[in-house]
Symmetry: C2
Subunit: 213 residues, 2 copies
C-alpha cells in the first residue's frame, strides 16, 4: 500500500505550496496588510484548506520564520566552518558580517526574526512551535559562543564567561541592526548602517581583547 506514502507526499507538497504563496503574499504586502484570502487565492486553494494545513495566520508566519532561521543558520555554519585557521577575533568578524549580510539580502526574513520576541507572536502560536524557533536561534548563538570560547583558550580574549560575552555580542548586533533599519534614524544620527555596524563591532571586540593587546 504505497498509496499512503504518495498521499503523505502530496500533503507535504500542498503544504509547501501554501507556504510558498504565503511567503510571496506576506513579503509583498506585509503581514498585516495581507489577508488569508490573498494567500488562499495565490495558492489556488480555498481559505478552508489553508486551515487544514495551518492553525492560524500567525502560525504560517512562524513557519516562514523557521525557514529564514534555517537559511541564516546555514550561512553562519558555513562561515564558521570555512575559516578555522583564522584568529577568533577574525572569525567573529566573519560571523557578524554574515549576519549583517543576511539582514540586507533577506530583509523580510530578518524583520520576522526581530519581530519574533515581540507581543502577539508569542501569544498566538503553539508552544512547541515557539520553542522550536527559540532553539534554532540558540543554535546560531552557540556558534558565537564556541568562537569566543576558542578565543579565550587561545589567549586572545580576556573574559570569563563566553556564553555571556556571546550573548552580549549577539544582542549588540541585533540592537544596531534594528536601530539602523529605520531610514529616519539613520538620517538623524547621520550615519549609515555599515559604518555603524563596523564601529560597534570594533568597539565590542576591543572590549573583548586581552588588555595586553
Amino acid at each position: 500500500m504505497a498509496t499512503n506514502e504518495r498521499r503523505a507526499r502530496e500533503k507535504a507538497r500542498r503544504r509547501q505550496e501554501i507556504l510558498q504563496a504565503a511567503r510571496e503574499v506576506f513579503f509583498e504586502r506585509g503581514f498585516h496588510q495581507a489577508t488569508v484570502d490573498d494567500v488562499a487565492f495565490r495558492a489556488e486553494v480555498s481559505k478552508g484548506t489553508i486551515y487544514l494545513y495551518f492553525e492560524s495566520k500567525e502560525s504560517i508566519l512562524a513557519h516562514l520564520l523557521l525557514e529564514g532561521l534555517a537559511l541564516l543558520l546555514a550561512q553562519l555554519n558555513e562561515a564558521y566552518a570555512a575559516h578555522q585557521s583564522l584568529s577568533a577575533e577574525e572569525r567573529l568578524w566573519r560571523l557578524a558580517r554574515t549576519y549583517l549580510d543576511f539582514s540586507q539580502t533577506h530583509p523580510n526574513y530578518f524583520r520576522l526574526m526581530m519581530a519574533f520576541d515581540r507581543g502577539r507572536f508569542r501569544e498566538q502560536i503553539s508552544a512547541e512551535l515557539y520553542e522550536q524557533i527559540l532553539q534554532q536561534s540558540i543554535r546560531a548563538l552557540d556558534l558565537v559562543t564556541q568562537t569566543v570560547r576558542q578565543g579565550i583558550q587561545a589567549g586572545e580574549f580576556a573574559c570569563d564567561d563566553p556564553k555571556m560575552s556571546a550573548g552580549a555580542l549577539w544582542a549588540t548586533l541585533n540592537g544596531v541592526l534594528v536601530l539602523m533599519a529605520n531610514p529616519l534614524r539613520r538620517q538623524m544620527l547621520s550615519v549609515e548602517l555599515e559604518p555603524m555596524f563596523e564601529a560597534t563591532m570594533a568597539l565590542v571586540l576591543r572590549g573583548l581583547r586581552r588588555a595586553a593587546n
Copy 2:
C-alpha cells in the same frame, strides 16, 4: 470672551481622560486585546468621541509612547545633571542604569518604545507624530553623546566619533534589554537580565577606554 479658554481647557481635559483610560486599558489587556470600545467605556465616553480626539487606535498608543519618552527623558536628564563631578565612564554607567531601571519600573512604556521602530506603528500614525517621537528619542541619545564627548576630552576614552559610539552604546543596551525581556531566552542562556546588562556594559566600556588604562 473667556469662554473659549474654558472650552479649550475642557477639551484638553477630555483628551487627557481618554488618554488615561487608554493607558489603563492598553496596559491591562495589551494593545491588541484591548478594543476602542473598552477605552470608550473606561473613559465614560462614546466610541465616536474617541475619534474626535484621536485619529486612530494606533495614534492613541503613539501619544502614550510620547508620555513614556517624556518620563524616561526626565529621569535621564536628572541622572545626567546630578553627577557632573564623576568620570565620564561612571556617568555612562549611571545613564545606563537609569535606562535599565526605567525598563523594569515602566515595562509597558518600555515595550512601547521597543515596538516603535517596527511595522504597523510606522505606517499607521501621522508623519508629524512619528517624527516627534523620533526627536524625543534622539534627545535621550544626545545625553549619551555629550557624556562620551566629555570622556574623550578628559582623555578617558579613545574614540574619534562620539556620536557613533553613543549610538553603538544605545543600540547595545536596547539589544540586551530586548533579548533578555523574554523569559525563555533568559532560561536558555541561563543568565538573568542584570548580570547580562552589567557584563555587556562592562564589555563596551572597556572597548571605549584608552588603551593606556
